[in-house]
Amino acid sequence: MRNVLAIADKEVRAYFASPIGYILIGLFALLFGYFFYVYLMIFNQQSQQMMQFGQGGGANINQMMIRGLFQNAAVIILFTMPMITMRTYSEEKRSGTIELLLTSPVTDLEIILGKFFGALTLYAAMLLVTVLYIVMLFKISNPEWRPIAAGYLGLLLMGGCFLSTGLFISSLTKNQIVAGFLTFATFLMLWIVNWIGESSGPTMQAIVSYLSITEHLDDFVRGIIDTKHVVYYLSFITFGLFLTARSVDSERWRG
């Protein structure tokens, strides 16, 4: 555990020693802010219309605004995650520092977990900044906090899946650009697999939508923390980390 912390700490400091950490947080906050504004405007319009038609109080800000906002956030996350993970292993392999880690008295698992939690910390910081917008929302309206908290939990778990996949892909190559691109392509596939599902039969659709990472987010955003989804995300993360461990180990044998 001590070693995991040491490596996670090193990873986080590396993100902020270069501009990448600040750029990611800034970019994410900007895009999140844009969608926040757009959805707020739409919600505003709709609720005014509803009031005109005499359905006062019927407009649910959680349903109408936050849900859309979080679903869009998931897409932004999909685009930004490869930038977090692409350098994790690739860079160490290219610069030879992997030799330091692998000859230190730490296990492969500790290194992998350290890198994963390091990346997750940066991601959590990205999410944390967006909480400012939500605080603003509480100032001007009175949404329910529970679905929002559940939504954040969902985003965190979903991001964890992306990160563990990205970590695995990064462990396959010395080249960060290749790692970044492959990660991005994989995420894109995990996302659009939904569209394939929609155009195929009901059995296929059920399978495909179960596999799609973003599909599982929906219940969280609606305020439901279903163990089914939590288990899905946690097993996805574990699987990604497991693959990373296999990849690091096989690299070691192949030399």
């Binding site: 090193k10 020693a17 520092t97 992997i98 030799e99 692998l102 000859t103 230190s104 070691r252 044998w253």
Partner: protein, 329 residues
Amino acid sequence: MIEVQHITKRYGRVTAVDDVSFRVERGEILGFLGPNGAGKTTTMRILTGYMPASEGRATVAGFDVFDKPIEAKRRTGYLPETPPLYPDMTVREYLDFVGRIKGVPSRERAERVRTVMARTHVADMADRQCGRLSKGYRQRVGLAQALIHNPEVLILDEPTAGLDPKQIIETRDLIRSLAGDHTIVLSTHILPEVAQTCQRVVIINKGHVVAVDTPDNLTARLKGAATMYVQVDASGGDAGAVLAGVPGVTRVVSADHRPAGTDGSGVAPAHAPAYEVESEPDVDVRRELARAVVSRGWGLLEMRPVRMSLEDVFLQVTTEELPEEAPHA
């Protein structure tokens, strides 16, 4: 302290290290000599637990590097060929991080970092980012990193590569001063470095151990024989046969094939042939050679020892396989 038994490492069909065995006693400095691609780095990587061997066993400080990797690694400091530095960290941060993953307790860490920085002469760059250091400093920070947890065993892959002559001397002094408390394996392809720092040498070529010996024996053996360049004005006599008859001389080779200078002065004229005379080691044949020539009334035009340059020695090490010797127990 270190025991390597019949280690073999294959990369696919390529065998990088083939049945290598040697021992290093506590407090000893062992030099690992060989050309690039001989298997030095691979052997060191196996010893440090970076990669497993395809066959064979290696133990470091009593722990098998494969079965008890954590215990073995805890007792090993390793400087890879390229110092494993994180360019964004300052030297101090970097050494602190390495100390942390090597298991140096947090309350001792700042002190350890100071000590190793002083020993490796990098303290003046403590707050400089590793990525902005010169090659010499990188190499020494790499060495500092290997020392941070005060390991019993130090494995150094070309520790003086990229240093200037003054830094090389300082580093060799440092390595020598570390022997005794630490058991050191260092690799190099610089022969005098081995002669000056190591107590024992393993010569490895194409994955095989070709010799294990002390540097003195090794240099004597590498020189093989003392060679003299002799030019004689023999006025038609067979000087070669006369020189060969001198006691102690093992071989006489005509040196006329030596490349000529631009004015042709390097070519020995027909009446004054030149020879390379090899003699048994530790026998000085110069007086006898001179007497043999002069007593026949010939002119001794030139006589000088042919010194083996480092390059010659290195080439001999790597192209001629020396007879294998049993490792010293």
